[in-house]
């Protein structure tokens, strides 16, 4: 049956058939024909979702099903046309596909072209879906007018007159209070817009609005989200975020649309999405004061204040979406867009607020699910996808509507006692992890559209759990409810997304289960993945004890895993109650018309510095009322106390102790202040920098020629294997694992030890990168009867955590073989030069983002440029946690470090027969002591043998090249032109076989010199001068507030091991290895494909687990 039938058939049995089942056993030619037919179909199909599904099929064919068949062809390596890459960066995915298909037509399908096609189809599908959601958001009735309004005269809203009438000298404050939401059924991510719009029958959640209290801090649960609005007597828009400590007075219209300029992007999105400043005014050149005049009259402005009462980010309770909803609601009430000025909203008002919140999320470049604004509705409700009817703008485009249907579950269905039962058993927590769930949502979408067999069954199983969960809730049977949510988490949810669970989550669950036994009724995951917001259910009589104990358990495990997983904050336990109002508003007047206490903590310092006579009358009256309130109310009183602390000088603070710690770290880790100063001067003078990393423009860069690279997949012989096995039997080989890194890409700059990150389950439990590498060594030991030595190179960031975890695990049974090589070089990061930032952003090809995100990014970059200027270009970066201010200086130093710190000498002493090292990166999980490759390396007589792979689209950053006719590895940042990379068919895996004695000879040493540290140091210093120093920009996170994070690009320098291949006196050889051996696992988004393409299993096969 043609694959297009799976897309177009009206028979659900055919339509829901898994792609892998349909293509099983098809030969290459048949699959290529299917791909051609699908491509033709996706170009002409009128239905959006059919086109999208065809694109996902094409992605899967090129990513998973065609590559194994291509290996039979003699030449698998190939080139990706630079034009295609350029189209991909510019988000012209359709054009990229055309270029790639033309190349396929000319040269035949290669692994490289297939990888690029897979990427292009994948992005094209997701872009089409996202575009459709955006179009639908604009088309929702009630949203459309905002896109039409093009001048301040056309602004059709008017602020309600009640808000412009002063009482007691001050204008009233409109105060909105909103719940957050939790999803009791989890729904298997069916609240992703794409799913609900394609499969409304399968989109169904049980959503509960809750009030929260942070245990140990708040006295009782209350609606956590609050928004305040009032008219002010200045024609400005004053925005204040109490939690983020940010405020701004906007006077220009463009500032309202500048989302990344400050931390007020959410408030700005609310101002726009509520229609106060309609979307159509963006770039219109209109004046903000004219808009405000149309809204309220001359001379008046608006103040909008937000507060989430310290609820931390990543709670998975949709705090930001409900805050957006709350802000939008208060603005809409103020402008008569809802029927009621105060009290709860009517249903039509809630629906339009939800639609506007979706719009606001799109404006701010963020995204949420369609149930996230559930806190706007009261109590318990079923939210489900709704089929688009002829009256809906989605009709004829998608099967479902953008906005779902909300059905309130009244007390007649779930009575007060049953509601109480849930409150009495459930403990809500924030585990402290705040991770980007974006990749997970993309995986879910992809699996849904491919109808991947087990995942599709799991989705149906998840759907089938909805009714039993609702019935258990109706019966007040929380024990059964807990059993069902636990089954859901460990069953269907992890079948769909194995990465939904974390090592941390499972350790906490295990301990809770061990301590509470039968009184632990169940676990429940909130949101995209576990580790942040989670629920634990207990027998009611033990809930109090459990919530206290859970806080301790969470903190204990968080501390133990602090270096392994990206925690943004300490865990928190919440008290909660069901909110039966949804979002509700009140208007306060006269002496009661005050903003929340935190507002005054922000506003008072500036007000106190102003001459009271210069303050407007209304401000003076407000301060008078504040003074009265501060006498009566503890929360306001606390503001005054805090204010005194802020205004008066204090002793040695956190900043000073941070500085001390940084200095101590620098001193302990071999920081060279003279070298640092030299680098700084060179950087500031422009002698080094991103532009200077490049080789001269007249350098000739050419691809390898036949015979330059040994094809290991097909060329290894028994003779190679025998030679290698003999060396292994004799204990002549050791492994060197580079484990100095901080998993920057994996965690978005969170600074965890990548080696210790438990990233995937093997043999039934989560394993770290390091455990995988040790398991490969263990298997070699089992096969050859001798344990190969295994050096792990560490850095200031990773040494202590790795050592303590290895000690705790008794070195996984390899104590005598494992050697830690502590880094002896360290750098201090610097504020980047503006020219380097500009070079990075303007001279290098960048991935274009979608329209809104592109605007946000442009605004962020402007802010970062002014940050670099104001913080001092080229000065030390010290304004962060000390460990985030330091940097490792590149993996070239790791082998010299083995010499400098005596590790190699120790290893040679322990095993004098040692001749060869296999150096590999922590994320090259497939690299093992393969006897065949070892034998080949020995047979070449090379000092260094590098393993390369045929390039795929994602393999960026240089490769193997003939540089002015010398075969060598070249870094991407050293290539004279970016497009040079696309002429190179092979990519460096960084796995390198090293002959010890010839290498020592090149450095000017021999084995006996290794015990002479002075000689070693002098030789290394001399040798290092022959290698280039690269300046790079690294993104580091700075954490603040309650789980908030900012990312800064900072400058650092590094030297690269691959540049050793450029030294003419060092003989080098190159072998092309399989992808499963050479793939580097650098991002979480790679995990799913890595699992599905068989790489994980291939790695499992070369491991022996302890």
């Amino acid at each position: 049956m043609p694959l297009t039938d799976l897309i177009t058939s009206s028979d659900p049995l055919i339509r829901h058939q898994a792609l892998e089942q349909a293509v099983a056993g098809l030969p290459l030619a048949a699959l290529e024909a299917e791909a051609a037919a699908l491509d033709s179909f996706r170009r002409t199909a009128p239905n959006l979702y059919e086109r999208v599904r065809a694109c996902f099929f094409l992605y899967a064919l090129h990513r998973f099903h065609l590559p194994p068949l291509l290996t039979a062809r003699a030449e698998t390596a190939g080139l990706i046309p630079a034009a295609a890459h350029h189209h991909l960066l510019e988000r012209r995915f359709g054009e990229a596909v055309d270029v790639l298909l033309a190349a396929t037509e000319s040269h035949g399908l290669t692994d490289a072209l297939g990888s690029a096609l897979a990427h292009a189809y994948h992005r094209l599908a997701l872009q089409s879906l996202a575009d459709q959601v955006r179009a639908s958001v604009r088309q929702v009735r009630g949203n459309q007018w905002m896109f039409r309004c093009g001048s301040s005269d056309e602004v059709p809203l008017r602020v309600r007159p009640e808000l412009t009438r002063p009482t007691g000298g001050v204008l009233p404050v409109l105060h909105e209070q909103t719940a957050v939401r939790m999803d009791l059924t989890h729904s298997a991510w069916s609240d992703i817009f794409f799913l609900g719009m394609d499969f409304p029958e399968g989109a169904r959640v049980l959503n509960i609005s809750v009030n929260l209290a942070v245990q140990g801090r708040d006295t009782a649960p209350h609606p956590p989200v609050e928004a305040f609005l009032r008219v002010i007597d200045r024609p400005v828009l004053r925005l204040v975020s109490v939690d983020l400590g940010a405020s701004a007075e906007l006077t220009e219209l463009d500032e309202v649309f500048d989302f990344a300029k400050d931390h007020l992007g959410l408030l700005k999105a609310a101002v726009i999405a509520s229609g106060l400043v309609p979307m159509g005014l963006e770039g219109s050149g209109q004046r903000l004061d004219h808009v405000l005049e149309t809204l309220m009259g001359p001379g008046l402005g608006l103040e909008l204040v937000s507060s989430v009462n310290g609820i931390p980010k990543g709670s998975r309770l949709a705090v930001s979406t409900n805050l957006l909803g709350s802000l939008i609601s208060v603005c809409m009430r103020a402008t008569g867009q809802t029927r009621s000025l105060t009290g709860p909203l009517e249903e039509s008002g809630r629906r339009i607020v939800a639609a506007r919140a979706i719009l606001g999320e799109w404006l701010g470049g963020s995204g949420g699910g369609w149930q996230d604004s559930g806190g706007v509705w009261p109590g318990i409700k079923v939210i489900e996808g709704a089929t688009a009817t002829a009256d809906d703008p989605e009709h004829g485009i998608s099967r479902g509507r953008l906005l779902p249907r909300h059905t309130l579950i009244g007390t007649q269905l779930v009575g007060p006692e049953q509601r109480k039962a849930l409150e009495n058993s459930l403990v809500l927590v924030h585990g402290g992890m705040a991770q980007n769930v974006g990749p997970i949502l993309e995986m879910v979408t992809e699996k849904y559209l491919l109808r991947s067999g087990p995942e599709w069954d799991a989705r149906r199983e998840s759907l089938a759990l909805f009714d039993p969960i609702l019935q258990a809730l109706q019966a007040g049977d929380v024990r059964t409810l807990g059993a069902l949510t636990t089954r859901h988490f460990f069953g269907p949810l992890q079948t769909i997304i194995p990465w939904a669970t974390t090592f941390f989550t499972e350790r906490v669950i295990d301990q809770v289960r061990a301590e509470f036994g039968d009184d632990f009724w169940g676990f429940w995951m909130l949101g995209g993945m576990s580790g942040g917001g989670m629920g634990f259910m207990f027998a009611p009589e033990r809930k109090q004890e459990a919530s206290q104990r859970l806080a301790e358990i969470l903190v204990t495990h968080k501390r133990a895993l602090n270096h392994s997983l990206p925690f943004a904050m300490d865990p928190v336990v919440y008290d909660f109650e069901i909110n039966e109002n949804g979002t509700t508003a009140s208007m306060v007047t006269g002496a009661a018309a005050l903003m929340p206490p935190g507002y005054y903590a922000l506003a008072l310092p500036a007000l106190l510095r102003t001459d009271p006579r210069a303050l407007p009358e209304s401000r003076r009256r407000e301060l008078e009322y504040f003074r009265q309130r501060a006498r009566e109310t503890p929360a306001y009183q606390a503001t005054l106390t805090g204010l005194v602390d802020t205004l008066l000088p204090s002793g040695r603070g956190a900043q000073t102790s941070r500085e001390d710690e940084l200095e101590s770290l620098l001193a302990r880790n071999g920081f060279d202040p003279l070298a640092h100063e030299r680098i700084r001067l060179d950087l500031q003078a422009g002698h080094i920098g991103l532009a200077r990393n490049r080789l001269p423009a007249n350098t000739r860069i050419e691809n390898v020629r036949p015979g330059d690279v040994f094809p290991a997949a097909t060329g290894l012989t028994d003779a190679h294997r025998t030679l290698g096995a003999a060396a292994l039997d004799a204990g002549e080989v050791a492994v060197v694992t580079l484990a100095a890194g901080a998993a920057s890409r994996w965690t978005g700059g969170a600074g965890v030890v990548k080696a210790l990150h438990p990233f995937c389950k093997f043999d039934g439990r989560h394993r770290t990168f390091l455990e995988v590498h040790l398991a490969k060594t263990r298997q070699v030991a089992q096969r050859h009867g001798i344990v190969p030595l295994h050096a792990i190179t560490t850095s200031y960031l990773t040494h202590d955590p790795i050592q303590s975890q290895l000690e705790a695990a008794d070195f996984h049974g390899l104590r005598n073989a494992v050697h830690l090589s502590r880094g002896r070089s360290i750098g201090l990061r610097m504020i980047p030069m503006q020219r380097d930032l500009r070079f990075l952003w303007e001279e290098n090809a960048q991935q274009r983002l979608d329209e809104r995100q592109e605007k946000v990014r442009a605004s962020l970059r402007t802010a970062l440029l002014s940050w670099a200027k104001s913080a001092g270009e080229g000065t030390d970066y010290r304004d962060n946690q000390p460990l985030q201010c330091l940097h490792p200086v590149g993996h070239w130093y790791e082998i010299p470090n083995l010499l400098l710190n005596g590790t190699l000498a120790t290893m040679l002493q322990q095993r004098p027969a040692l001749r060869t090292l296999m150096l590999h990166n922590i994320d090259t999980l497939g690299a093992n002591l393969d006897s065949g490759l070892l034998g080949w390396h020995r047979s070449t007589g090379a000092t260094l043998s590098f393993e390369v792979i045929s390039r795929r689209l994602d393999d960026r950053g240089g490769g193997l090249a003939r540089v002015n006719d010398q075969l060598r590895l070249v870094e991407g940042l050293a290539l004279p032109r970016e497009e040079d990379e696309f002429a190179l068919s092979h990519y460096n895996t960084l796995t390198c076989w090293i002959e010890i004695d010839p290498l020592l000879h090149s450095v000017g040493l021999q084995r006996t010199d290794l015990n002479d540290p002075i000689k070693v140091a002098a030789a290394v210093r001399d040798f290092s001068r022959r290698l280039p120093t690269y300046i790079t920009l690294k993104e580091v996170k700075k954490r603040w507030g309650h789980g908030q994070e900012d990312v800064f690009p900072v400058a650092q320098f590094e030297r690269i091991w691959g540049d050793m291949s450029a030294l003419p006196e060092i003989p080098c050889a190159y072998a092309e290895v399989t992808r499963s051996r050479g793939t580097q696992l650098k991002e979480q988004a790679q995990l799913d494909a890595w699992l599905r393409d068989g790489t994980r299993d291939a790695i499992d096969a070369v491991c022996a687990w302890d």
């Binding site: 009630g142 602004v155 229609g275 867009q337």
Partner: protein
């Protein structure tokens, strides 16, 4: 259904002097706005007119009425309790009959030769035997000034709509959700011209609402019209003509221009305007 009486409301404190603004009419005569409105009404054959004014305002209007030589009964609205209440004050005057209702701060210019806007509206009421309001497609930026209707097309040729929903000064959000009318451009809604032919049912509904009105609230007309739409056939007629709202920035000027451009001295005015435009910066 032929209305034989008309009611003009002029009791809103904000528009106190607008009906007394002086304008030059189509023939070049200097007139009060109120005089133009009385002409509009009398063109339909109605001779019995009530003018609802604020306490003490009657003498101000008397001169304008005298010049128009119409039979006008002055009715005082004792307290400013809303537009609906002002109409209700005229209930004893209209008794149990249909009546033409007009506001006093609008000027109308018909696009049909020899037929005023009021004549067009009363003709619809006569033909269809029921309530009818004059409407005009209005851009959403002006929604804050008018009542607006939602409904379905009733007679495309005569541009008649059957009203299903009436909202007073709706927000564009509400309008987009419930006042869309097929055939109108995006962003345009059918808003009242301030000219209606109403039946005693509306007075009855107004009276009911007035009885249950909470203290401090005012009575509007639109909610009663909305309720009436649920009880009886209620049409909206898009007339061939335009209304000019005087209670708007440059409202009086625009109304004067519209009237003059429709009159005998159109060419003189155009020449003057062109000269003015040419000399302006």
């Amino acid at each position: 259904m032929i209305p034989r009486q008309a009611v003009i409301t002029a009791a809103d404190w904000k528009q106190q002097f607008l009906p007394l603004q002086t304008m030059v009419d189509r023939t070049g005569q200097t007139r009060k706005v109120l005089g133009l409105l009385l002409d509009e009404i009398t063109s339909t054959g109605i001779e019995s007119i009530a003018l609802v004014v604020r306490p003490g305002d009657e003498p101000l209007y008397r001169d304008a009425v005298d010049v128009a030589k119409a039979d006008v009964t002055f009715i005082t609205q004792p307290e400013p309790l809303g537009y609906g209440h002002a109409i209700l004050c005229a209930a004893p005057f209209v008794k149990d009959e249909p009546f033409l209702l007009m506001v006093s701060d609008h000027v109308y210019v018909s696009a049909l030769d020899g037929q005023t806007c009021a004549q067009q509206l009363t003709a619809v009421a006569r033909e269809h035997e029921g309530m009818v309001s004059a409407v005009q497609a209005t851009h959403e930026s002006r929604l804050a000034s008018f009542g607006a209707v939602g409904g379905s097309l009733f007679d495309a040729r005569h541009r008649l709509y059957e009203v299903q929903r009436v909202l007073e000064k709706p927000s564009p959000t509400e309008a987009e959700q419930s006042l869309l009318i097929p055939g109108l451009r995006h962003g345009y809604y059918m808003c009242f011209l301030g000219m209606h032919v109403l039946t005693p049912l509306v007075l009855e509904l107004l009276a009911q609402k007035q009885a249950s009105l909470p203290p401090g609230h005012t009575l509007d007309l639109s909610s009663s019209l909305h309720e009436a739409a649920g009880r009886t056939r209620y049409l909206a007629a898009a007339l061939s003509g335009r209304r000019y709202d005087l209670d708007h920035r440059h409202g009086v000027l625009m109304a004067q221009l519209a009237v003059a451009l429709d009159g005998d001295y159109r060419d003189d005015l155009l020449a003057g305007l062109v000269e003015m435009l040419a000399q302006s910066k």
